[in-house]
């Protein structure tokens, strides 16, 4: 018994790491307005408005209902955006308020927004509405376990700092031959989903583990500044074999090709969100914390613009 007590004492002495509540001695930062506004040519201008709270404060976050939201298009007159109540919930319980206008955005519009409220610092933001992307896509089957989607992108009137996101969404069929006909349970490791850029001469790749019979998608970003007048992009979908000795036939029947043009602000916001999400997963203890990008002066959130085009192409 004496020995056990000694061992426990030694372990306690050397391994103890105690957790205690710590009094925050820094300055209590003031809540800020949180704005989320994504504008697209052809859509009306609207935004979500809520607020942040001090991280040690447990009060709920609600929408800001009585803010003065003004917008200005191409240096014209300032106009108000009105509080729109769209959901079934009581307004007091909603996490955000929605302010909308009747204005339909056009490509190239420069829109300024200011928001004032007595409880929060005034915020302002600016955005230019980006045009929709111009592209075509075709699906080609290379062999039994490899397909290729070829995108032809055009620069059009997109600004140099914009980014095009290409998202390839497809359904996978796996014709692996198994004795007990357990094909549907077979998991396919998409080890080589490569996006090759012949002009830049470089490739990005993503990999995913999915069950045959599922939809999956992959997305790649191409800076507009890297696109000449026209641009080809090849996305290779390649079934790496989960077990080396097995044979897979992987067939992609059709793809949904989504092309998004994103303003530089919106791209930075999305990229920082991806990094934030990744850092919250495994290994977050070691990862540097991520600051989510914001172009809202004196506030938090994003005023971004985008344009989208979707096309479906069949295998041939």
């Amino acid at each position: 018994m004496k020995h056990n007590i000694l061992y426990i004492f030694i372990v306690f002495l050397f391994l103890v790491s105690c957790e205690r509540e710590l009094t925050y001695r820094g300055q209590e930062t003031q809540p800020l307005m949180v704005v989320e506004c994504l504008a697209q040519a052809g859509d009306t201008l609207s935004l979500k408005l809520s607020h942040s709270r001090f991280f040690l404060d447990s009060s709920p976050i609600k929408g800001i209902l009585d803010a003065d939201v003004q917008y200005q298009v191409n240096g014209g007159e300032w106009q108000s955006m009105n509080d729109a109540h769209l959901s079934d919930q009581p307004r007091e319980q909603e996490r955000y308020a929605i302010y909308s206008s009747a204005y339909v955005c056009n490509e190239g519009d420069e829109i300024n927004i200011t928001i004032t409220h007595k409880d929060y610092p005034d915020v302002s933001m600016t955005q230019v509405i980006v045009p929709k992307p111009i592209f075509t896509a075709s699906l080609q089957t290379i062999n039994t376990d490899e397909s290729r989607v070829v995108y032809h992108l055009e620069k059009g009137n997109l600004p140099e700092d914009a980014v095009i996101q290409v998202q390839t969404e497809f359904y996978i069929r796996d014709y692996s031959v198994w004795e007990n006909d357990t094909t549907i349970d077979m998991r396919v490791w998409l080890g080589d989903m490569i996006c090759y850029d012949p002009i830049l001469g470089k490739a990005n790749n993503e990999s995913d583990m999915l069950t045959a019979g599922q939809y999956t998608s992959c997305k790649f970003y191409i800076p507009v500044s890297a696109i000449n007048e026209s641009h080809d992009l090849e996305v290779y979908i390649n079934a790496a074999q989960y077990i080396a000795d097995d044979t897979h036939w992987m067939v992609v029947d059709s793809v949904c090709a989504h092309g998004y043009s994103m303003s530089a602000d919106y791209y930075q916001y999305e990229a920082s969100k991806d990094a934030y999400s990744a850092s919250s997963n495994f290994g977050s203890f070691f990862a540097e914390k991520v600051q989510i990008y914001s172009n809202v002066t004196n506030g938090i959130g994003i005023f971004g613009s985008y344009g989208s085009v979707t096309t479906k192409c069949e295998r041939y």
């Binding site: 030694i10 105690c18 930062t29 080396a244 495994f282 989510i292």
Partner: protein, 800 residues
């Protein structure tokens, strides 16, 4: 003009005649008995007022006018030796100094080397006597050189207990830490809580924070020059220590008396052995086999052979390893109508890292003014993280099913280097050092592999393997340098030098010319003003995620995309000697650094999908500060008080919105007090007190909901709670402070002459202040984790 020519000729003749009336005294300074050479000992002729300092081989050369000479030799911790003689021609005098330890009534010199201080040109450098290091209290009684260096002004530790060093706003990778002149990459044991230096094997430690002599390069912020003992040339000596955490030994002696000596020391922690009985008890209760533990071991060795007084060959060796392991094996046996089935589940987690260093040095004295060192060295650092998981199912001893997944992640660096350095002392006004160094580096970072093996009774064994990384980078680094310590006048001394380096990687060559200059102006006999400027280049980066220095921190080279780091450092200071008792120094510095590397937001060494070059971003940094040091060098009470006020900033285009932010180790105030008191001949007391502004952390100070859950879907009904981070490293943790005390008792052995028992008792964190190791928010509250409460420890040493 006609009249001037004879005058010039006469002057030239007079000058030549004057030189002809001089002779050179040269030799070595050694310890009496052991014949251990002493680095940085001062040799001074009190009649001419000329002096010099021994080099790393303990060699000195002094050219002075012939005639009456009163030559004195002084060195830290030793009684001075004085000799009077008539100098008529070149003479060899070897000094053998006797130790001054335990002689209370004598002057006990434990201060700086003589090329430092008021008289010396060198500023921003401190030599810490190893004897003092051994008495300073430490965690679990484990004496640690790096921990002591962290107590000096301008040097800050990372987080509590960690051995990472941050010198004048630089990163932990910007310190060149050499053992016998050969760089070591990871100087940490036990996740950084201890350093790899075993104090029993160490002869001297010198830290340079600025005013870098041209012989040093390859790092921006500091040089820590650690030299190992050569071993006693006359008789066998040694020690054996047992502490709460580790046991160690040291043995030294002659192989061939007076010619060949050895010195070997080793240590191992036994925490893993102590916890083993507890694990056995748990295993028995849970009906599973479990082993876990951590240990480190290291061995230092040095072999020295003196062919003659002019030729010496030394071989240095260091090897050390840390290992963390966790293994479980769960066996379940059950019976059914089909027979007896046994299922086995296994897991094996291992993490090991270590250094290997081997070096051979040939010291040759050409004549009384020229000494050379030829050094060939190999150094290696590697770490490996592995995880193995396996399942097995057997029925009636027939295998039904077995699967095994093994994952490894490893990195390593190999360096092979050769250097040839010369020390030339043409006259007392000049001490010239020059040389050439070539290093071949091999980097293999982030090598990952996953192997899977499945065996089924009805199927053949199936295997799959996935490998990532493994890209080997070879680089070549070649440098030449020359420096001169020039005594222009009694008042004015100048150390100037130039270092030229070529670094080749991936068919790209980076050249660098690095000027160094240091000036000392003696304002009074006891007061000097010093100024210095250093330009440094570094071709290595350490990618580090967190405040704690981890073995997983990745050493990576400069590449064709990642450029070398450069720094400019200017410093100015005053040094004042108070009655030969206390030395005061006040220094201010300003340093800029470019091509600094940081992980991008969200990046981690664990994300293996991208290469390290894709995970980092390049920026710049700058730091400035004022350092004060009051150091008592003589008497029974010695020690120092240090204070630093400093700022360290960083700026990266891709971090913090491109705005400047505080470096994570930026601490505004730092105070340290170190006291050693020799109460009696056989009793020493010591204490340290440390106070510093808390280290920095990135803390989300606001929380909000982000509702654009799906791209382009503003009306997505979900919401993610997001931390709003106003600035990287925005939060200053509570101040760090701690007091440690220790006592050492010496008791002579009754039968063995010269042998003694040494008992050391120390208390780490005397008033049990729980300093934060990390802080984090959870459920609207802020929490801290502290590692080390009050920790008493005891060490017993038998020395013979």
């Amino acid at each position: 003009m006609k009249h001037r020519i004879p005058i010039i000729f006469l002057c030239f003749c007079a000058y030549s005649f004057a030189w002809a009336q001089k002779a050179t005294i040269s030799g070595y300074v050694r310890e009496l008995g052991s014949q251990e050479t002493q680095i940085g000992a001062a040799v001074l002729d009190s009649i001419s007022g000329l002096g010099c300092v021994t080099n790393v081989s303990g060699f000195y050369s002094l050219t002075i006018p012939v005639g009456e000479v009163a030559l004195a030799c002084r060195y830290v911790g030793f009684q001075p030796a004085v000799t009077h003689f008539q100098l008529t021609c070149d003479t060899v005098i070897n000094f053998y100094l006797s130790t001054a330890t335990h002689q209370l009534n004598e002057i006990t010199v434990v201060g700086n080397q003589s090329n430092l201080g008021v008289e010396g040109t060198q500023m921003s450098a401190i030599a810490v006597p190893v004897n003092q290091i051994k008495t300073i209290p430490a965690i679990a009684g484990e004496t640690d050189i790096v921990k002591v260096l962290q107590l000096l002004p301008g040097v800050q530790g990372g987080t509590e207990g960690a051995a990472g060093m941050y010198v004048r706003g630089g990163g932990p990778d910007e310190n060149l830490i050499t053992l016998d002149g050969v760089p070591l990459y990871n100087v940490n044991h036990m996740m950084g809580f201890f350093s790899v230096f075993n104090a029993d094997a160490i002869k001297s430690v010198t830290l340079y924070k600025g005013d870098f002599p041209a012989r040093f390069g390859s790092r921006l912020s500091s040089v820590i020059d650690v030299r190992q003992n050569e071993g006693n040339a006359e008789s066998y000596h040694g020690s054996v220590s047992v502490g709460l955490l580790s046991a160690k030994f040291n043995v030294e002696g002659p192989i061939w008396k007076g010619k060949t000596t050895f010195n070997i020391s080793g240590r191992r922690t036994y925490y893993d052995l102590l916890v083993q009985p507890i694990l056995w008890a748990i295993s028995a209760q849970e009906n599973m086999h479990m082993t876990m533990g951590y240990y480190f071991w290291d061995v230092n060795a040095k072999l020295t052979h003196r062919f003659s007084d002019k030729d010496k060959l030394t071989a240095s060796f260091y090897m050390g390893d840390d290992k963390i392991y966790f293994r479980t094996k769960d066996v379940n046996e059950y019976s059914s109508s089909e027979g007896t089935s046994v299922s086995t589940e296994k897991m094996n987690l291992g993490w090991r890292w270590g250094n290997l260093l081997a070096a051979v040095n040939w010291g040759h004295q050409f004549n009384s003014k020229l000494y050379s060192n030829l050094n060939v060295a190999y150094t290696q650092y590697n770490y490996r993280l592995s995880l193995g998981i396996g399942d097995k199912e057997e029925q009636n001893k027939q295998l039904l099913y077995e699967d095994q997944i093994d994952m490894t992640y490893r990195s390593h660096i190999n360096d092979l280097s050769a250097s040839y350095t010369l020390d030339y002392v043409p006259n007392p006004k000049h001490d010239v050092q020059f040389g050439a160094i070539y290093t071949w580096h091999q980097f293999k970072p982030e090598v990952g592999s996953v192997t899977m093996k499945i065996t089924d009774e009805s199927e053949p064994t199936q295997t799959a393997e996935l490998n990532t990384g493994g890209c080997i980078t070879h680089t070549h680094e070649a440098s030449i340098y020359a420096e001169d310590n020039w005594s222009i006048h009694r008042v004015l001394k100048l150390n100037y030098g130039l270092r030229a380096t070529l670094y080749n990687v991936e068919n790209k060559t980076y050249p660098s010319i690095e000027p160094r200059v240091g000036l000392r102006v003696l304002l009074r006999k006891d007061l000097s003003m010093k100024m210095s400027y250093s330009y440094m280049t570094q071709y290595l980066h350490l990618l580090s995620n967190s405040n704690i220095t981890l073995p997983t921190d990745l050493w990576v080279p400069v590449t064709s995309h990642i450029k070398p780091m450069h720094s400019h450092q200017a410093a100015m200071g005053f040094c004042y000697d108070v009655l030969g008792q206390v030395e005061l120094s006040l220094e201010g510095y300003y340093k800029t650094m470019d091509n600094q590397l940081e992980y991008k937001d969200g990046a981690s060494f664990l994300s293996m999908s991208n290469s390290w070059e894709d995970k980092v971003t390049v920026g710049k940094g700058w730091s400035y500060g004022v350092e004060f040091l009051a150091q008592r060098k003589v008497g029974t009470v010695t020690g120092w008080i240090g204070y630093t006020w400093s700022r360290a900033m960083r700026q990266f285009d891709e971090i913090n919105g491109g705005k400047p932010f505080h470096a994570k180790y930026d601490r505004e105030h730092d105070v340290s007090v170190v006291v050693n008191w020799q109460v009696k001949k056989n009793i020493e007391l010591s204490g340290t007190f440390l106070f510093s502004t808390g280290s920095r952390a990135t803390l989300g100070t606001q929380v909000y909901y982000e509702t654009i859950g799906q791209e382009y879907d503003l009306w997505y009904s979900g919401a993610n709670e997001i931390e709003y981070i106003p600035e990287r490293n925005n939060y200053v943790m509570p101040a760090y402070h701690r007091m440690d005390i220790g006592a050492t008792f010496h008791r002579p052995h009754k039968k063995m002459v010269g042998a003694e028992h040494i008992f050391n008792v120390s208390v780490y964190n005397l008033y049990n202040h729980l300093n934060p190791f990390i802080v984090y928010p959870r459920y609207n509250k802020l929490y801290k984790v502290s590692l080390f409460p009050i920790m008493p420890s005891f060490t017993y040493t038998f020395k013979f």
